[in-house]
Each structure stands twice: as C-alpha cells, then as structure tokens.
C-alpha cells in the first residue's frame, strides 16, 4: 500500500516522500523516469505515472549518476570549527553531488579512538546530508610511533574501515607493514599520505623549474614515489590492501601501474586540483594555491589524467581542506596547505576528463562513486542507477556553465583555487537514500 498514498515507509516506520524523477538520462543515456520510494529506485521506465501525492521533478536534460563518494574529506570537527564543521562540510558535499564522505582523522583531538570516530559519525547522522564515514588514525596522535586502537574503531558504531594518518606519512616502514597486516582482520585498508619526511623538510611547492625561479623550497616528486614504491612492495609481501592518497606525479602513476600488473591489492586516488592545475600558479605567491602534495607540472597532470582514464588510478577524491582566512592571507611559507574541493570536484572532473574525451559519464561515475564506495567498503553507495538499487543519486546539468564565487560556498571557509573561473556542469539535485538533500541547486536542510 505504501505507494498509493504518496508516502513510503522506511524499515523503522518513518514516512518518506515518494519522488518521480521525469525525463532524466542515467549516465547520459536515453531519458527515463525514475520512481524513488522507500530509499530505493523502485521503478525505471518511460512515462511512469506518479502515485498520488508523489513529488515530481522535471529532470529533462539532466544526467543521473550514482551519488558521489569522497574518500578524502577534511571536516575539521572536532577542533577547528572556525574552518568547517561536520554540518557545513556535509552541506558542501551534498551541493557537490556527494552522498557519502570519508572524514579524515587529523582533527583536534585526533580521531584515533572509538570515542572520537563515534562523535564524528554521530554529528554526520545529525546533519543528515551525507553519510559521514570517519577515517581512523593509523597511529596515536598521528605521531607515527605506535598503532592506534584500530580494532576498537572498526568495532565502534562508526564501523571504521579506512585508516589514515593523512597530513602525515606513516614513514616508519616496520610500522606501516604492521598496520597493513593488522587491518586485514576486519577488511580495513590503510590510506597512505605518501611523503618521505626527510626529503620534504620545509618544502613549499613542487621542486622544479618554477620553484627554482620563485626561491621556494622544493617538494621533490621522488619523495612521494619512494614511499609508494616501498608501500606497494610491502602490501604485495603481506597480501594486504593499500590505498594511496592524492597521487600527484607521473612517476607515481608508473609505479602503481607496475604494482597492479603484479596483482598487488593496491588502489589510488587523485584530486581534482591535481587533474587541472599546475605549479605555475605558485608564481602569484597566493597561498590559495598552496597544497600538499603540491601542484605539479603539466606533464604530471597529463599522466594523472591518463592513469585515471586507464584505471591505474581508481578514484577521484577531493582532499577538501578548509582553512580559516588568516591561515591563507599570509606569506606563502606561513600559510597552511589545502584547498576546498567538494563543491567543485564534479565540474573540475568534467573539465579534465569528460570534455577531453578521456572518460564518459559511466567512467566518471565509476571513478567518483563506485570505486571509492568499494574502497571504503560502503555497500549502500556507488551502486548502479537501476531498478532495486539504493536511491542515492546526483542529477546534474551537463550543459550549465557557472562561475565559482568563494562567498557563495556552503563551506565555512573560502580557500577555493577556482575563484572567478568558469566551470562546466552543475549539480541540480542530490538524493540520499530516496530523500532529496539538494533540489534546484540548493541544499534542503
């Protein structure tokens, strides 16, 4: 009876609206109607009739993809609520087309205990805009000395599966090996921030021609590649899963390609900014372009795009890193590294990968939803846009063009590197398990 009244019902008896999404093109294909009921895509067809009381959404011209999944988000709460909160970050995520985000562990206090990850998970539930999946720290206090209680975080209500000291590299090879082995017990994955610390002391930007000219201390590609090479060998040796965060160099892509050819269980992500921007931007000395790992060269950008297209790199992850104004309005060396990413990721990916013909919509959905959901172990996300599948979807206008206005961001911070840039494709609506979180380009909560 649930459909007849225009209301659905979830397992725990809460009434849910029914939505008829009309004329939408799944993966850019032929237009169909989608009936969303009880958190799933109940029917797919042409000319579906709306149950009485159902909400109708005219989605003519829009493309439907599975709701995006971010493996790498900094929500800053607890500790830096002046830069972002779970709620503001969740809103930015929903507006960017995301239905799930992985909240990185480098908060204050660090998410290295069951208590902190449960707090973040609960704040995410309260905000209710995306599924917030806390990432647990690999080592206590991100200090790289001894393992955090990974099992306790895995067994907590937050059910942590991704562990990362992101912002810091687990540089001790023996500790990294133990972490890789230990998380096998609960099918966890260690997400490594690959940065050999001795090679990047004081580093400010990509080491190369531009850094030499600008007099900024260089961050050599080899500092990333050396750690990735070591870690893929370790993962192969102990048969564990390794995920490599924010791959930024052409050399890293080659090493990953080799590791995958060997059959090692290795996955990798690339950020939107590393797919579009280059180190030439540092010449402005505006720290809005300061990020870690740093923006690289045009050759690296080309290799990253190719690696993402051929599947060597599995996923696009934002590394959304909000920072308060005072942490960016400073000298380059004094500024904190990081860029906003949630609200622009899809558009930047369209520019870098779809407009260039490297990926079609299905390929983009694989890299921004399906693959990250698999890596993060999220069963209810990244699924096909098809009958019987979870109704977590993004509807986007592929022909829209918009100009990025930092002041219009839902994030509490303003450090977008795309200010004033015109980007393609715009999120019109996002559904999380059948409920709209974004409609007409505006957040519903």
């Amino acid at each position: 009876m649930s459909g007849a009244s225009g209301r659905g019902r979830t397992d725990d008896g809460v009434e849910m609206a029914i939505w008829l999404v009309e004329g939408v093109r799944p993966y850019g294909g032929r237009p169909v109607d989608l009936l969303l009921r009880d958190g799933v895509v109940a029917e797919v067809g042409r000319g579906l009739s709306a149950p009485s009381g159902a909400h109708r959404l005219d989605a003519g011209g829009l493309v439907a993809l599975p709701g995006l999944v971010d493996l790498h988000t900094h929500l800053r709460e607890p500790g830096r609520e002046d830069a972002e909160t779970v709620e503001t970050g969740s809103r930015a995520a929903a507006l960017g087309g995301y239905t799930a985000v992985h909240a990185m562990a480098n908060t204050e206090p660090v998410a290295d205990t069951a208590g902190v990850v449960e707090q973040v998970w609960r704040l995410g539930r309260e905000a209710g805009l995306v599924d917030v999946r806390p990432v647990g720290a690999v080592t206590v206090g991100l200090a790289g000395v001894r393992l955090a209680e990974l099992g306790a975080m895995a067994d907590s209500a937050a059910r942590v599966r991704v562990f990362s000291d992101d912002g810091h590299c687990v540089s001790d090879p023996a500790l990294m090996r133990r972490a890789l082995e230990y998380v096998k017990a609960f099918d966890g994955v260690v997400a490594q921030h690959a940065e050999e610390p001795r090679l990047t002391e004081g580093a400010q930007m990509n080491e190369g021609v531009v850094a030499a000219r600008l007099g900024l201390t260089g961050w050599p590609a080899a500092a990333e590649e050396a750690v990735i090479a070591r870690d893929v060998l370790l993962a192969g040796h102990v048969g564990s899963r390794l995920h490599v965060c924010h791959v930024s160099t052409a050399g890293s892509v080659e090493i990953l390609r080799w590791a995958k050819a060997k059959g090692f269980r290795v996955t990798a992500e690339v950020t939107p900014h590393h797919l579009l921007l280059t180190d030439e931007l540092a010449a402005t000395y505006d720290p809005v372009y300061k990020v870690n790992p740093p923006l690289r060269t045009a050759e690296d950008v080309a290799a990253l795009r190719a690696g993402l297209a051929d599947g060597t790199i599995d996923a696009i992850a934002t590394d959304h890193a909000p920072h308060a104004l005072e942490d960016k309005q400073s000298e380059w060396a004094a500024a904190r590294p990081g860029m906003l990413g949630l609200e622009t990721a899809l558009s930047v990916a369209v520019r870098a990968m779809v407009e260039t013909g490297l990926l079609d919509w299905r390929g983009l959905a694989e890299r921004m939803a399906a693959a990250p959901a698999r890596i993060g172990g999220l069963a209810g996300h990244g699924r096909a846009v098809a009958e019987g599948e979870p109704a977590s979807l993004v509807l986007l206008d592929p022909d829209a063009r918009w100009s990025v206005d930092p002041a219009a961001s839902a994030s509490r911070s303003r450090n977008t590197p795309y200010a004033g840039r015109e980007l393609p494709a715009r999120v019109v609506a996002t559904f999380l398990a059948g409920e709209p979180t974004v409609l007409d380009g505006k957040a519903c909560l």
């Binding site: 030499a212 050599p220 000298e331």
Partner: protein, 306 residues
C-alpha cells in the same frame, strides 16, 4: 614601473634608465656640502624590515633621505611584527598612515608580492627569502659598468650558494636582460633543481671558469649549511670554491672581484682578495648602493626617466 619586486620585471630600457639615473644622482650630489636633493620632499618612504639587515636598511634610509623624503623604519624587533601581527595587518597599518613607498625585507619568498596586493603605494623588494634582491643586482650592474665601461657581452661568474641566494637570482635575470653572459659555479648540492631553465651557464669547476671571467662574484655561504650536508666541511668548501690569491691569479688582468656582503673571510673569499683595492669592488658596491636606491625610489615615486 609601479613596484620593483623582481629584477626580471625590468626591461632593458628600464634597467638602463635606473643605472643612468643613478649616475646623474651621483654627479648631482658630487661636491655638494649638503648631500640632499629636494626631489621627494613631502613623500613618505617606509622601510619595513622583518629580517635584520643593517647594511640594506641603512642604504635605503640614506637614499630616501638624500631625496628629502620622510623616512620611517619599522624593524621586526620591537615593533608589532614580533608580537605576531600578520603581514596583512602591518600593510593595512602602513596604508592608514599614508606611505608612498614601502621598502620591504622579509625572510619569506614572495612576501613583497603579497604586500603589493594590499597597499596602494609602491613596493620595493629589499630581499625576500631565497627569492630575489633586485636593488642588489642593480647596484652590482652599476658597479660593473663603472669599472669595466660595459655590460653587453661581459662574462660574469657567480660562485657560491646559488640555491639559497636571492642575489644570484636577481643578478642572473638582470644581467641576462642587459646582455651579459653569466656562469654559475657551485657544488651541485647548492644549485637548485630547475637551474637549467635559467639564462645562465652552470659549472662545478671554478678554476675552469676564471680565465674567461671579466667579473667574479662570490656569494656568502653560511656555515650552517654544513650541518645540512650541502658540503662536508668549511675547509673543503673553501678549497674547492673559495676565492683565494691563487685563483685570483687565474683571472684576466682587468677582471674585478665582487661580493654582496656580509663576507665570511677565509670561507668564500680570502681576506687579501677582499681587500685588494685593484680588483675588489666590495666597498664601492656599498656606496653605489645608495645611488642606485635613490634612482629606484625616484623613478617609482613619479620621477621621469626622461
């Protein structure tokens, strides 16, 4: 020309006009009892020194005073800067006080670029981190031209810690604009990755480059670099790259020896080389610095290069 942030911002004509203006400044003051020109009367020049540098600060102060400008000097020590005030707040404060030009020395590369975005007046880079020191390059070029009567085709060897040197970066840019041939000599550890894109030749062998050099400029090498393994010891550095009497003997007869100061005598330059009045221009560089900085302030603050 609104700001002077990088020596690379100067066209050949602009660079030459600075040198020519400096020459005119010098002759206008020569023989005067009162060493002052009324040119910048009523204008305010702020010296903003976030990093200690008595020599550069004094040189700019004197330059501004000789042009009759009002000069205010903020030093990092004892000012709001040491209390953690941000560069931006300092800039806004200066702005509110109404400064026409800000001369800034800062330990962070690019700080003058940031400042230029926040103030209405002109910004002069007086040395930023390991980036640039354009007025040093201008005074060096001025000194070379005075001594050797030309810049075009001049063969200049710059030896020392190129990696960390703002003097080297500015000199390479300016000298190539002015048509000189620059060779950088350093141990490979003290050359930046990416130096191959600079308009200069690179060599690891000082002795080989000296017989062809019209100018050899030695850069200060900080002993602390030893601890960071850039070279094994001060002695070894000095043996391989120090400018001693034996090496000076390899130079052509009229070649000159330059050093931006402050010098580590016995490290990158032997005392008798630094003090050799025939070749060493170290002291002239200091006095030329005042004239060149007068020219820069004059041209930036509305003077015409005719």
């Amino acid at each position: 020309m609104k700001h002077l942030l990088s020596a690379g911002d100067l066209s050949r004509e602009e660079a030459l006009s600075v040198l020519d203006t400096a020459e005119r400044m010098e002759s206008a003051l020569a023989g005067r009892e009162v060493k002052k020109l009324p040119t910048l009367r009523g204008r305010t020049v702020v010296n903003l020194f976030f990093e200690d540098s008595t020599r550069t600060r004094t040189s700019f102060e004197l330059a501004a005073k000789r042009l009759s400008a009002d000069v205010v000097t903020f030093s990092a020590k004892g000012s709001s800067v040491s209390k953690g005030e941000s560069l931006k707040d300092t800039a806004l404060t200066l702005e509110a006080m109404g400064s026409d030009a800000v001369v800034v020395r800062h330990s962070c590369s690019g700080a003058p670029h940031r400042l230029a975005g926040w103030v209405r007046g002109s910004v002069v880079n007086a040395g930023d981190g390991t980036h640039e020191h354009p007025t040093q390059a201008l005074l060096d070029a001025y000194t070379m031209r005075r001594r050797l009567s030309r810049l075009e085709g001049l063969r200049v060897t710059i030896v020392g810690d190129v990696l960390h040197s703002r003097v080297a970066r500015s000199n390479v840019l300016l000298l190539s604009t002015l048509g000189a041939d620059v060779t950088l000599v350093a141990p490979p550890t003290l050359l930046p990755v990416g130096v191959e894109a600079w308009p200069a030749a690179v060599s690891y062998d000082l002795d080989a480059s000296l017989p062809k050099a019209d100018v050899v400029m030695t850069l200060r090498v900080q002993r602390e670099r030893m601890g960071e393994s850039y070279f094994p010891s001060a002695r070894e550095y000095s043996r391989r790259y120090g400018l001693d009497r034996a090496r000076v003997a390899l130079l052509p007869d009229d070649a000159i020896v330059m050093h931006p100061g402050p010098m580590n005598r016995g490290m990158e330059i032997a005392a008798e080389v630094a003090d050799d009045p025939r070749r060493s221009t170290v002291v002239e560089q200091v006095s030329n610095g005042v004239s060149v900085r007068m020219a820069v302030l004059y041209l930036l603050l509305g003077g015409r290069s005719e």
